[in-house]
Amino acid sequence: MSVKTSPQSRARPRAATEHPSGDPRFSLIDRTLKRFSFQQDALIEVLHTAQEAFGFLSDDLLIYVAHQLKLPLSWVYGVATFYHFFTLTPQGQHNCIVCMGTACYVKRAAEIVAALQQEYQITAGETTADGRLSVSTARCLGSCGLAPVLVLDGEVLARETPESALERVRQHLAEHAGGAKPETNGAGVRERNGIESNGGIHEPI
């Protein structure tokens, strides 16, 4: 006795593996969880995946990860806040990272940071009020031969002066004034509003 399956019913099992919120990005996290067979040791790897998919670690996301790995939320929060790489706040549309490694510092990278701070009225590590630009500093990007170095949306700008750096950032923002985000920044937030819509605690699958 064979029941002819319709295309819809065949699609159903796939739908069941999706996250209740319907956000397909959770399947990326689930894939990493499975790869490490839900081992608690894999917490940092899971957080990496989560941040890559969502752009930042929202409270919901931390709760979800804690739940899946059966770890106390305080533990997950502790790890997420310990490492510089993880950010708990949404990032701007564009990001500008100024290298503050020794080689860049000796070549006056601090003045570039100061110029950017002055221009956009934020301190390093913050995002402008309109969510357009995040400015941050990095420990060392390892391109010391090109010091001082900036990374603007994934593009490396080498041997900049405060004036030229500011000019490049202004130009970059003006070019992308339409709000379209350049493809180059893989780690950035792709759909910022998408995250707020999955509010609430995420049930394990």
Partner: protein
Amino acid sequence: MNRSDLEAMAQRELQRQQAFRCRILCCASTPCLSSGGSAVYDAINEAIKEGSLDAEVQAVSTGCMGPCSRGPMITVQVNGAEEVIYEHVTPEIGRQIVAQHAAADAPNREATPEVESAPSLSKHVLPGDIPFFVKQKKIVLANSGLIDPERLEDYVAHNGYKALAYALREMTPEEVCREIINSGLRGRGGAGYPTGLKWDMVRKARGDKKYVVANGDEGDPGAYMDRTLMESDPHRVLEGMAIAGYAVGAEQGFIYVRGEYPIAAKRLERAIRSAERRGLLGSRVLESNFNFRIDVRIGAGAFVCGEETALMASIMGMRGQPIPRPPYPAQSGLWGKPTLINNVETFGSIAPIIQNGAEWFASIGTAKSKGTKIFALAGKVDTTGLIEVPMGITLREIVYDIGGGIPDGLAFKAAQTGGPSGGCIPAAHLDTPVDYESLRALGSIMGSGGLIIMDEHSCMVDVAKFFMEFCMDESCGKCVPCRVGTVQMHRLLERITDGSATMQDLETLKELCVMVKETSLCGLGQSAPNPVQSTIHYFLEEYEAHIRDHHCAAGVCTLDKRPVTEWVHA
């Protein structure tokens, strides 16, 4: 795969490479990619396709060639002729290079590159006999810039995995440890503990499971040796780890890669997969009874994770906070099992030692420091980049011969080694041989290999403040001396650089240095005062000029505030 298969693979690859009349090696490590290396590579490939030269000319994307500030770099190998190295290559120059070396040279013509005939090209030629190349001795980086890091075959063709095959067949684990002890190799992470002794300790330790960990969490600002090694020759690191695994009896290895190094992590993952596919890693390595798996762990940006106990905590998914030693990781490390932790560069030195013998390695370097060391030369020198030099070379040779001296006719002021854990070496000590003991005697350390050169425009107080700010930020907060001490020291340095300090502050600073150094839990805190102490030692007059005369000779500090005492007396 067994030993003869390995040999056959090497032969096949060599024949394949020799079939090309001309090979164009394009550097694809981070600095060159940052300055447009991938566009150059694409342009060269296009030019080869346009000229239908696919059978004669091969473009290879390789690892780092060294002079990073001159990137994108290209090396051209023509059969029967000397290599030609090009600097500052643009896509347009890349096309010209193809035209010059490949298209113009018909196979029956003399294959000598006629560089003179193209004036625009000759400007970009970097002579192979400049001190930058001649003074170096490449052992760990021997393959870097020559092979395609993403192709296992290329590594095998350059004697890759031969040392592992030899060790597995001809040596007992004890003999491997003995060989490493005899070679005099010391940890390249900075502390300089004899590698062989550490291996032997883990070998003798009891445990049903043991682990091997490669420390690639290169947190020092201004250092990128480990990244370059992992990017340029990932199989070399894997081979060293596998030999270590065999020597200590471990079946599982981890490479901890810094989060900021996505290319290195990607290439390592790929290298592990291809080595596992060929039976060079995984179960029954090279058809022996030895199993060894390697996993990559990505760090998440914490300097303290370079400390071994913190690194292990991070691998286990915890906050990277150090724990007191003993017990040392050799007795109780990852998940309480004996664990061998070495720096990536240390593992990179293993294969050549096994292949060429301990005596050969011990013949290089000084009495107590053997072999070579990779430095990331940066700051105010003409040619910055990655260099590998024999131990015992003087700083002067590194700065003036290899680095080409200080640009703009300025004077050398200090060389900073060891990053935030090291110190500054003044001009008076330029002739010091670079080895573990000599640098320590000068109040600095070898460190992992960052070497920043400073000229007259660098204020030493400001540099000390920069490193203290770094340590303050990176302190994990577990022990009080480091957590509170670094903040207080930074505050004092800030006062000195803004002009509001008194001579008493300088005394307090000196006292705090000793206190933090003596009482901190881990290496971070114990070495955090080093930059301050060494600059106070060698550049005391600069500190005094800041405090007494409100004068910064380098013109870096603003010094616009005044001490509170002056207001009182006014």
